[in-house]
Symmetry: C2
Subunit: 314 residues, 2 copies
């Protein structure tokens, strides 16, 4: 027999679904959250969306998933944060939040008395991750990123966490599954709490469509079956390309950015990725692949600033 | 025999092309500008690009046009402002500038001692429009706008200005040519100086491609031929659809935006254009076509704020 599923003021008794807001500690901010508590016991899974401003397929997926899931079919508990970074969502800002200029996915596990991004991370960590068995963080190419779908799983961590995370990541129906050493984002931080999981990327350029949302929903349901939280057979969605690590290049000039590679193009270390020119077409700097691999995302804005990501190869 | 073509500190003697920066009066801001002074006399044409943050095809067009034009072929003078709103370009902000939150295309003719946007407008008005015979302002769908190409010309102004502006706009190779009553943007303000011209829109969603730039270059060269600034026959690019006026709807709730119409769809007055829902999919408000017409642009961001444009019908 399950017990109540609680997060902040929200309480979902066994066999129920509750929707409402989770107050971010020490702030006026509220996160839209759905708690689903199955009638039978099982794993507790946290799903977060909208970590960065323009990751719209993730938010739409979270909204639909929350409405579709029926607690009668759930064994265990699912918490869905529909929009984690509400300030960045409404500011339509890429990478960082409007209040503190911080990348929300670099401030985990957060701080109770930190900046807005840190407080949100702290609330997700303490209210949700602390009681969880698995987490999925849904992202997408940010406002100016063209991106081929991929999934990041924590590598270089406890072997059991890494293998569960990698196996689950491989069930998302996404071809590229990539190891990551990050420690201050959602999945990296979660592993320090003993929590396996992954970060998925579907969608790009501040756009969203039905195909992306359908792909996300299908993959998440497959992982929930793998975790035995939903009934049914786990499906095999075809060949996976495992990539050991990602490496990117960042702008060292402000100006206009001209990529020289396409998404999913296979590049060799040292191959030219693009160039930055001034407003009169004079070349200011050129960028080259830091490793062999596949182009996973390419920044699409003509405008570029010092420090901006340009291309990531996995 | 032509005389020197001057703007700020830039001086182009007859038969020359000069590239450099035009200092915005009473500020540290500099605009990248090309002055082309033909060997033979003729009209003076001002071309501006990058008025809003994400109008990348216009900026790339300005850069290429500036490099392609040969003063030996030019009769008259052409000034090209490669990026008019440099602060918004680098802030990657839609609609408004980062310093003052003002829409640059609503502050013309500008103010010498105003905000950043107003000072830029003032500099363009006094240094360029004041000595011009024609102006073309190159725009595009902003960062979150899906847009079918169209051209706006000033209507309800002096008959001669309106007819020249409309005729030139019809030579851009863009199907939709739309009358506008705006007075505080580039073309509306220019008419008060006796200056015909238009505002063109090609490109969308913070993206740009070769096809858009090629289309822009071809259209501008055609208009320069019409103005006798470039030699050659004016070309006919096919059927034009004239639309008397645009009308749009704006958001009255913050939340998630779901358009119900496609670009170029013909809609009837009162037809549903879309709806705003909260983070749990509950409908907050619905929006309906304010007039019969063609859908010229649709906002694409899932995130929406009070006052944001949603759909414009022409």
């Amino acid at each position: 027999m399950s017990s109540d599923f609680k997060a902040g003021q929200l309480i979902a008794p066994p066999g129920s679904k509750v929707q409402g807001t989770l107050r971010v500690e020490n702030s006026d901010l509220e996160l839209p959250v759905t708690l689903i508590n199955g009638e039978t016991s099982g794993k507790t899974v946290i799903i977060t969306a909208g970590t960065h401003g323009g990751e719209y397929p993730s938010v739409e997926t979270a909204i639909r998933l929350a409405n579709q899931l029926d607690p009668q079919n759930v064994s265990g508990r699912i918490a869905i944060v529909h929009v984690a970074n509400v300030p960045a969502f409404h500011a339509k800002m890429q990478y960082v939040g409007p209040d503190d200029g911080k990348n929300f996915n670099r401030v985990f596990p957060g701080k109770a008395l930190g900046t807005t991004s840190e407080k949100i991370a702290y609330t997700i960590t303490t209210e949700l991750y602390a009681q969880a068995d698995f987490q999925m963080d849904l992202h997408g190419g940010d406002l100016h990123e063209a991106l081929v779908p991929f999934v990041l799983y924590p590598s270089g961590v406890q072997e059991e966490i890494e293998s569960v995370s990698k196996e689950a990541a491989s069930l998302m129906g996404i071809r590229y599954v990539v190891g990551s050493l990050s420690t201050n984002g959602t999945y990296g931080s979660a592993t320090t709490l003993g929590l396996p999981g992954f970060l998925a990327e579907i969608g790009q350029c501040g756009l969203w469509n039905e195909e992306e949302v359908t792909s996300y929903l299908r993959g998440i349901q497959n992982v929930l079956k793998y975790l035995k939280v939903l009934p049914g057979e786990v499906e095999d969605y075809g060949a996976i390309t495992y990539l050991p690590k990602m490496a990117g290049v960042n702008a060292d000039h402000a100006g206009c950015w001209y990529p020289a590679v396409r998404l999913e193009e296979r590049v060799s270390k040292g191959q030219k990725l693009g160039e930055i020119r001034d407003y009169f077409a004079k070349i200011l700097s050129e960028y080259f692949a830091p490793q062999d691999g596949v182009v996973l995302y390419v920044v699409t804005s003509l405008a570029i600033n010092v420090g901006d990501p340009l291309v990531v190869v996995g």
